[in-house]
């Protein structure tokens, strides 16, 4: 019996082991013969298969058996503070986040906007201020693209000096990926004209805070979109219905939801969220501002904290990688806390500024292991090691104990998951 090629410590297999070997090989190393597994089951013709099934719904909902696949809510009663809904990455697969599970951060609740009354104004340093309705925007040439949106505070718990125990949903749940469809902002700015003095665009929402952020004009003219659709349907209320600014690869909060006003100006507005919230205090007391980019990052979703391995044998390690700089070029996976590495397979198509699913086959021998991934993007940017990131950005003076805290922003170091011999997965630093 030909064995599978182990390419890194603790059972990481070549990423193409199964593409070259086929199912018989897979069966071979699990220790069963295919005929045995079938015979042992005694397959029944279950009752649900012998009667007419359920009615078709107008708007579908998942199987009742998937009730646990939901966002976790930080403020379910809507107290007068921000609400967060986090994506359950450990229960999803592929690269598209279902709309109802896309992460949401709502600083003052989702406004109940009548789309017929909604207006988008573009003014300031333009030749002609213009106002658009949803109906008029729907007649413009549209584009569709995949793009992740990530909160600047996602993964911030990893700035804690000790690893906080929480599921991957608590740690990395504030990033999601959709196909967005809308009108390129450059198309609309072509129509308003741009005064040469314009350097920034202040984007503002129709929510109760009239949330506003300043965007450099170069980004506005590059790939910024006034998005109207999310995964084929109108944008969900939590994600900006009826329209949002989409800035592919840039800090989530800048992708202003409920977009109602774009003002071209000669200086940034220094709004609350750019002057205060989405900044990063550095060791020594200075702070980064205008971080803009969500830098190259990856994390393993299967297995991850919140899941449990059901015994030694074959598993596929899988996770998500993305970069605000462009396409993912490479993902490496380690099963021995970063000492030896194997290259993961990347699911095609690999798209810029979008989730890339990576996978690698793994034979778990049943002993303790520490899993970790690191990604590189096409610009040559590497996801930093924890030591590199902490040297540059610091960590908290004391361990963080509140899983809803945001001790820092823009963490893009690696995540390490320790699997113990019982199959339990814990968050560790390695």
């Amino acid at each position: 019996m030909k064995d599978l090629e182990v390419v890194a410590a603790n059972g990481l297999l070549h990423r193409r082991a199964f593409l070259s070997g086929g199912a018989a090989l897979a069966a071979a190393f699990t220790g069963y013969r295919l005929s045995d597994t079938l015979a042992a089951q005694g397959l029944a013709d279950e009752p649900w298969s012998r009667k007419q099934g359920m009615l078709v719904q107008e708007y579908g909902t998942p199987s009742p058996y998937e009730k646990h696949v939901v966002r976790t809510l930080s403020n379910p009663k809507g107290d007068t503070r921000t609400q967060h809904g986090r994506t359950p990455h450990h229960l999803l697969h592929g690269t598209i986040t279902p709309n109802a599970l896309h992460f949401v951060i709502s600083h003052s609740g989702n406004p109940d906007i009548d789309p017929a009354q909604h207006r988008l104004v573009i003014h300031g340093l333009v030749r002609r201020p213009l106002v658009f309705t949803l109906d008029t925007l729907a007649r413009y040439p549209m584009v569709s693209r995949m793009a992740f949106v990530e909160c600047g505070g996602n993964s911030g718990l990893l700035f804690s000096s000790e690893p906080l125990q929480g599921s991957i949903q608590a740690i990395h749940g504030l990033v999601s990926c959709s196909e967005w469809t809308g009108v390129l902002l450059s198309t609309l700015l072509e129509e308003t004209g741009i005064d040469p003095r314009a350097k920034w665009v202040i984007a503002e929402g129709a929510d109760s805070l009239a949330l506003s952020r300043s965007v450099p004009i170069a980004k506005a003219l590059d790939d910024a979109m006034v998005a109207l659709y999310q995964n084929g349907e109108r944008i969900m209320p939590g994600n900006g219905y009826p329209m949002r600014l989409l800035l592919p690869g840039w800090e989530g909060n800048m992708n202003v939801k409920y977009l109602r006003r774009l003002k071209l100006v000669d200086q940034p507005g220094m709004s609350y969220y750019e002057a205060r919230t989405y900044t990063a205090i550095l060791p020594g007391g200075k702070a980064y501002q205008f971080y803009f980019l969500q830098e190259v990052k990856s994390f393993i979703t299967h297995p991850s904290p919140g899941l449990r391995l059901s015994g030694p044998g074959f598993y596929e390690i899988s996770g998500i990688a993305y970069s605000g700089n462009g396409r993912i070029a490479k993902v490496m996976v380690s099963a021995d806390a970063g000492r030896t590495w194997a290259q993961a397979a990347l699911q095609e198509p690999v798209l810029p500024k979008a989730f890339t699913r990576f996978r690698i086959p793994w034979r778990w021998e049943g002993g303790p292991v520490v899993l970790q991934s690191r990604a590189w993007d096409e610009g040559g940017n590497a996801q930093p090691t924890r030591a590199e990131l902490v040297a540059r950005r610091g960590q908290t003076p004391k361990p963080v104990t509140n899983p809803l805290a945001f001790p820092g922003t823009h963490f893009n170091g690696p995540s390490s998951w320790a699997v113990d011999s019982s199959g339990e997965v814990r968050h560790v630093y390695a």
Binding site: T80, S108, L188, K219, L221, M270, K286, Q289, F292
Partner: protein, 194 residues
């Protein structure tokens, strides 16, 4: 090519297309009747709107004071408004309640997770006016008069000893207030700042 040049080139191209459009219009295009003079290749469905019509929405305040409305307010006036409209959430004398304290703050050298406050962090006083006017009070945003927003801004700045107890805030004085952490920032990607 710099961003400026890119924008300029796009603009030049647009001007050329506008000229072409004007020729078309002179030939009697129906677009003339709609009063639209945009790029012939574009849908031109945006409706022209005057800055006067946008005024009610235009609440952007820039750090140099651009956009600040007429009006004025003192810390003393602000203290009374604060008790009536803000203290419920921000606590008496802005010491904090269900919403953040608006006074004090630890040195930022205490750690990367030091709470960011007006006194220890905010680089511009105009942000305080802008955010208060657009977002506060939480239950009834955009109901404060401009005088009230100036007074509340003056009160908070005075509580933090950034201005004196008798200093009035208005469109002239507010942009001149120098916040303690004004120079505490580094752009993460300087090449992306216009």
């Amino acid at each position: 090519m710099s961003t400026r040049e890119t924008v300029q080139r796009r603009d030049d191209a647009r001007v050329r297309r506008c000229l072409v459009a004007l020729v078309v219009l002179a030939a009697g295009s129906v677009m003339l009747a709609q009063g639209q003079v945009g790029t012939p290749a574009a849908p031109n469905l945006g409706k022209p709107v005057s800055e006067a019509e946008i005024a009610a929405w235009d609440i952007s305040i820039l750090p140099d004071g651009t956009g600040l409305p007429p009006g004025s307010g003192t810390p003393e006036q602000g203290a009374k408004i604060f008790v009536a409209k803000c203290a419920l959430c921000h606590g008496p004398e802005a010491k904090g309640g269900v919403a953040a304290a608006l006074i004090g703050g630890r040195p930022l050298t205490d750690g990367i997770d030091t709470p960011k406050t007006i006194a220890n962090f905010w680089p511009y006083a105009t942000t305080l006016f802008d955010f208060t006017r657009r977002a506060m009070p939480w239950q009834a945003p955009r109901t404060l008069t401009d005088d009230e927003v100036y007074a509340l801004t003056a009160y908070i700045l005075s509580l933090n000893k950034i201005i004196g107890p008798a200093d009035a805030m208005n469109a002239q004085t507010l942009p001149k207030v120098r916040m303690p952490n004004r120079d505490g920032f580094i752009p993460r990607f300087p090449e992306r700042i216009p």
